[in-house]
Symmetry: D3
Subunit: 130 residues, 6 copies
Amino acid sequence: MPKRLPIEYADASPEVRAVYDDIMATRKTDWINNFWKVLAHDPPALRRIWSNIKDVMGPGELDPLVKELLYVAVSASNGCHYCIASHGAAARNKGMSEQQYSELLAIVGLANETNRLVTALGVDIDDRFL
Amino acid sequence: MPKRLPIEYADASPEVRAVYDDIMATRKTDWINNFWKVLAHDPPALRRIWSNIKDVMGPGELDPLVKELLYVAVSASNGCHYCIASHGAAARNKGMSEQQYSELLAIVGLANETNRLVTALGVDIDDRFL
Amino acid sequence: MPKRLPIEYADASPEVRAVYDDIMATRKTDWINNFWKVLAHDPPALRRIWSNIKDVMGPGELDPLVKELLYVAVSASNGCHYCIASHGAAARNKGMSEQQYSELLAIVGLANETNRLVTALGVDIDDRFL
Amino acid sequence: MPKRLPIEYADASPEVRAVYDDIMATRKTDWINNFWKVLAHDPPALRRIWSNIKDVMGPGELDPLVKELLYVAVSASNGCHYCIASHGAAARNKGMSEQQYSELLAIVGLANETNRLVTALGVDIDDRFL
Amino acid sequence: MPKRLPIEYADASPEVRAVYDDIMATRKTDWINNFWKVLAHDPPALRRIWSNIKDVMGPGELDPLVKELLYVAVSASNGCHYCIASHGAAARNKGMSEQQYSELLAIVGLANETNRLVTALGVDIDDRFL
Amino acid sequence: MPKRLPIEYADASPEVRAVYDDIMATRKTDWINNFWKVLAHDPPALRRIWSNIKDVMGPGELDPLVKELLYVAVSASNGCHYCIASHGAAARNKGMSEQQYSELLAIVGLANETNRLVTALGVDIDDRFL
């Protein structure tokens, strides 16, 4: 089964363009990255996923940089190269330093180690944590 | 194969007690949680993993609360209940609000959705991200 | 360690050819895809895995297309590109539309999100489900 | 960190009740399962996830039973007991037989085996699949 | 959806009993563990999976204890408590010491850490490894 | 976000060179593989991870070849190509035969199948295993 290729703005339907426009306006940028252009083969999914991202990554009690760091950490843990590249770039734009990225990766690695140990050992949750 | 049970301070070898003492001194607390007490069946692993945690979660460019949030996010993504409970408690102690925890979980959920979509679709990394 | 390369029919042992022949006869096709040609380095594994696939994907109460859709969904969830390509092609041959594939991917993404949320939150199973 | 407990209809805010009402109306049922009642601690997440489920699991080109089977398959592959129980119950209500469930589980198991083998062996995608 | 309960020998069909008998004869034991008794709801799956286990875990170039250690390691990495318990017991019966189990767990934990780091960092394979 | 590139010995700081020297001395080799050269962007992580590997993979009750086989099995299960290549090469150097590698992969595949089945079915642990 061939891969779905990115749909450029010029080739997009009005429904898809409306989402592209909202992405660019929200992010104050003049381009659309490949994830959205591939998702555009399924316009309702494009609109739905973008709406989710806009809600979840929008203003809240967590700092915008922290939100991106969390997204990068989960993506690094799951080994999604595209997501590391895209959310890593977003984190950089919001101020993530090279040293902060190193610390994030160290936590991702160590959490994966201890998550497996704890689960394999079947450690019971301490009463004080409940 | 029976599970390894927690080794209490009173029953621990001097080698294990030395690590327990350092954990309590570093964390300014008077108790040891079950993870360490189960790891204590393998004293070199206990010492090694504690040393890693102390290094990785110690002072750096990321805020201590952010470090805990990242640990909780990876643990939630991996479904490690013990780790969510223990690092969630640490995050609470460092100031995580109920609302911040909600935002963290929303990011974990959404990242797991988009990580799978991006990977399944084989989206190519945009030049601008390289 | 170098990767194992595909073993072509012309270079295959009689034991391997017998499996290749059965694959082609069962699938009513004249070629063998790379998975089997790489597995052929271990003839008992080749025979065993093929026998499993033949049993599991053969006639049953689930429609053949539905069986392929389930295989594609698990493979997409696990991020196995080869498996998405090969079982996606099989699903196409059995009638999967582009729109059905979009719906499948949407379910895979959403299930990965809610699976993580449910597990992280430790939601108890409702009595009515037991 | 204590687990979030289900919020019952009687104790829910108007915003949460509105979602509960829509879930019951859409599903033609008179109760709410625990997933939603735990998500209700974060009303925007409750509304957002429900909206996603309603869209993705609603009418489309895939049969409603097939959609539930795909959800169950991904959930079984990810080991989410709650999700297997809840979507398994939904699949039962839509007609899934015990034998169909057996066939689904066999595919989930086998796909997890071959997904790992294919990925570990680094099998190249055949030209015919592209 | 209720869980499938173990089917005891006394309640099993002749087809299922034949597999139970072969398991007990092969393992030189007088009982059947729950995995097989739950799988017995799907007799072809029971026969198929047992046949796979018998082939893969039977005599080969790897020592029987090493085979069990590998099974335990993968199961620990995947967090399957039942599989750790059952294959851990088998490994014990074949001579695994408490210290060897500790070393195995340490490798599982560390491999999960470095697997994530290597994948997240996108490290290129050295020519010498190809 | 661009990938971190390998740091060669000639370009490395004295702190990094000290680790490189220890890796080469410990492994009785004259080169450093890419994993360490990429980790070198974060010298404390380089030193820490190397120290862990040296401890965990060093002499113990498990045979050095068995330790490498366990590392390869977990890496194959997790789909880390780099780790399969590097630890596979190490296993080869310690005597792993092509047939042993086939047996290892068969166990990895089958364990992933049965781990998922056991977890999805929620099989209860037999009293005899406790």
